[in-house]
């Protein structure tokens, strides 16, 4: 028989013996891992949000004025005359601007003006697309219903359709209206547009503009969140440290309390490998149980966050893997203590 049966026996029995402590540590670890899941979900959402939103507008290329990184972070309208210069398989001008929607209060939105049934018109979840000025399609996070009438820049618009997951800049909803309506609302000037959306091959663009990929536009929309993302990442690192301290402390404490047991086992012929395996398995089990509990807890915690939390599938295998690594590292101090323990300690208490 290899030592695995002994390792498992010692590990499971000790977990049962110190059940309360391990339960408390598992719950504490689970709270930390839950926060890690949520933080991971937030960062994922930060990255996924502009990509999904920009992709939903249907354009592979955005023709933008030179000198701006993206239409959502800087306003630089150019003449509608330039639109005629664009030569591509499919293209359409759009207006992009910031606005406030007034209805039972005021909420900031990103306003997109597009031609009817052209690029820039989002997939509709409920209702229908914008067909004429005076109509509005809104993201469902705006908390408006079809048939509602809302005010933007003093103009009343009727909600005719709803989209989902059309947000930018960490949850600011997008609203869509007809191009000329948006020109009036944002610039009060029907002679300008913010960008030209294109798909397929782009053969010509106006002077003074650049063709930017949809991915580039999405990246630029993420720039204002760089600080927030870095902060969340820092919190994640701190949470990993807290998790390591919790698991490391309990493993070390367990090792200290069991030094006499380990000495006895060494004295009767147990190898260091078996004993270290038992301690390592204990750390790994605590970490995995905590992660499993956290995977459930995050389902309840995530909806309570004001921002959408998109925990990626990969997190459900990456987090346990990292947790196991952290647990083993954290348990090293305890394992080293056991490795160096003297089997003669088994005789301690003797007086000879």
């Amino acid at each position: 028989m290899d030592g695995s049966a002994i390792v498992i026996l010692l590990t499971l029995r000790d977990l049962r013996h110190r059940f309360v402590r391990f339960a408390v540590v598992t719950v504490l670890g689970a709270v930390v891992f839950t926060l890690l899941f949520v933080m991971t979900g937030l960062v994922e959402q930060f990255h996924r949000e502009p990509v999904d939103t920009v992709d939903a507008l249907g354009a592979s290329t955005w023709v933008l004025p030179q000198g701006i990184s993206g239409p959502f972070t800087a306003a630089a309208p150019f003449s509608t005359d330039a639109v005629a210069v664009v030569d591509a398989d499919e293209f359409a001008p759009v207006i992009v601007g910031r606005a406030a929607v007034a209805q039972d209060g005021s909420e900031d939105v990103v306003l997109i003006g597009h031609e009817v049934d052209a690029l820039g018109s989002p997939p509709i979840d409920e209702g229908r697309p914008v067909a004429a000025p005076g109509e509005l399609v809104a993201d469902d996070s705006l908390d408006v219903d079809i048939g509602d009438r809302v005010m933007i820049a003093g103009t009343e618009l009727a909600v005719v359709g709803l989209t989902s997951d059309s947000t930018l800049l960490a949850g600011i909803p997008l609203v869509f209206t007809e191009l000329t309506q948006a020109q009036d609302l944002v610039y009060d000037n029907r002679g300008v547009v913010s960008a030209v959306l294109a798909s397929g091959e782009v053969r010509a663009i106006p002077q003074g503009t650049v063709a930017t990929s949809a991915a580039g536009v999405a990246d630029s929309a993420l720039e204002p969140l760089d600080g927030a993302i870095a902060s969340v990442d820092l919190v994640r690192v701190l949470l990993w440290i807290v998790a390591a301290v919790i698991i490391g402390a309990v493993v070390y404490l367990s090792a200290l309390e069991r030094l006499r047991d380990f000495a006895v086992l060494k004295a009767i012929g147990a190898s260091n490998r078996s004993l270290l395996g038992s301690l390592a398995l204990q750390a790994v089990l605590v970490a995995l149980l905590a992660v499993a509990l956290a995977a459930v807890l995050q389902l309840f915690l995530a909806p309570a966050f004001p921002l959408k939390v998109s925990v990626p599938t990969r997190a459900f295998w990456q987090l346990p893997l990292i947790a196991v690594g952290v647990a083993l590292l954290a348990g090293l101090a305890g394992m080293r203590r056991v490795a160096n323990s003297d089997p003669a300690l088994a005789f301690s208490g003797a007086s000879g």
Partner: protein, 317 residues
């Protein structure tokens, strides 16, 4: 000889810079089926000897032979294998694993020898039956009395049918009924051919011993009358590690009390002069000399046996 042969065993270690020899040239033999009792006060090296016999501590020099195996030469995996396959341990204070029940505690050493878990547990049940604990198989140590724990510890020591069973104070803290049960068990094991070495303070074990190893040599009471001793400058009165016999009172001259250092040489502990005495604790407590006394000048001493010295001290009070 196929039993246990210990020859000229020395264990030396350093504590606070001083060399200490808990075992200094110890030798004894025990044939299979013999029960050896190690007798001696605290600090006399009983546990050190058990540790050496069990392959837990490597002696500084000397030989330990169990059957055809030279234990003192083993290391690493061979030593683990020796402890696992040939030796059974019964530790003082039981030292059972608190998270395991009685049968699991007994089964662990068996599993270490390669038996399957079910095999080991079956054998554990049998051994616990032999020590009268068949009703306590699933009890954890905290649910057992001291005597029951000791019996589990004995059963654990027997699991691998050891050639050598080492028991450290197996009757400590047991009442006479529990102690009798343990002693009877040790007798049974001896009859099965196992060499048993028991460390104890407990005189109850002496009558059943086949061999008694006095860890501190018995020094016959010195029955000499107080007498004068003259020592020239530079000569030693006694040497660290010598058997203690007499106590000395300085009548004239000075003596240096020195302690041997681990790396050789010595350190002066103090210099004593006329009217002071030295060398009293060893004879009174039965310890070897813990320091060396060297005449710093020509010395005139009065030597007393411990009893006369004590009477003189009490008379002065």
């Amino acid at each position: 000889m196929s039993g246990l042969v210990v020859s000229d065993l020395v264990v030396e270690y350093v504590t606070d810079g001083y060399a200490v020899r808990p075992l200094d040239g110890l030798s004894f033999e025990a044939s299979p089926g013999r029960l050896v009792v190690l007798l001696g006060p605290s600090g006399s090296g009983k546990t050190t000897l058990l540790s050496c016999l069990g392959g837990i501590l490597t002696p500084t020099s000397g030989s330990i032979r169990l059957g055809d195996l030279e234990v003192a030469q083993l290391s690493g995996a061979a030593l683990e294998s020796y402890r696992r396959d040939r030796v059974g341990f019964v530790f003082q204070a039981f030292n059972l694993i608190p998270s395991l029940n009685a049968r699991e505690n007994v089964a662990i050493p068996l599993m270490l020898t390669g038996r399957s878990k079910s095999d080991a547990l079956a054998r554990a049940d049998e051994l616990l039956g032999r020590v009268g604990l068949e009703e306590r198989l699933h009890h954890r140590p905290s649910q057992l009395s001291g005597g029951q724990q000791q019996r589990v510890a004995v059963a654990r020591g027997l699991g691998n049918d050891p050639q050598l069973l080492l028991a450290d104070e197996p009757t400590a803290n047991l009442d006479h009924i529990q102690a009798e049960a343990v002693i009877r068990l040790l007798q049974e094991l001896r009859d099965q051919g196992c060499v048993i070495v028991v460390s104890t303070h407990d005189d109850r074990l002496v009558p059943v011993a086949d061999e008694i190893v006095q860890m501190v040599p018995e020094v016959a009471p010195v029955e000499v009358a107080p007498h004068e001793v003259k020592v020239s400058a530079g000569e030693t009165v006694f040497v660290q590690g010598d058997d203690s016999d007499l106590v000395y009172v300085i009548r004239g001259g000075e003596v240096d009390i020195q302690r041997e250092l681990a790396g050789g040489g010595h350190v002066l502990l103090r210099r004593l002069g006329s009217g002071q005495y030295f060398g009293e604790l060893g004879p009174l407590l039965g310890f070897p000399r813990s320091a060396t006394a060297v005449a710093a000048t020509d010395l005139v001493l009065t030597a007393y046996n411990p009893r006369d010295f004590r009477e003189q001290v009490q008379a002065k009070r």
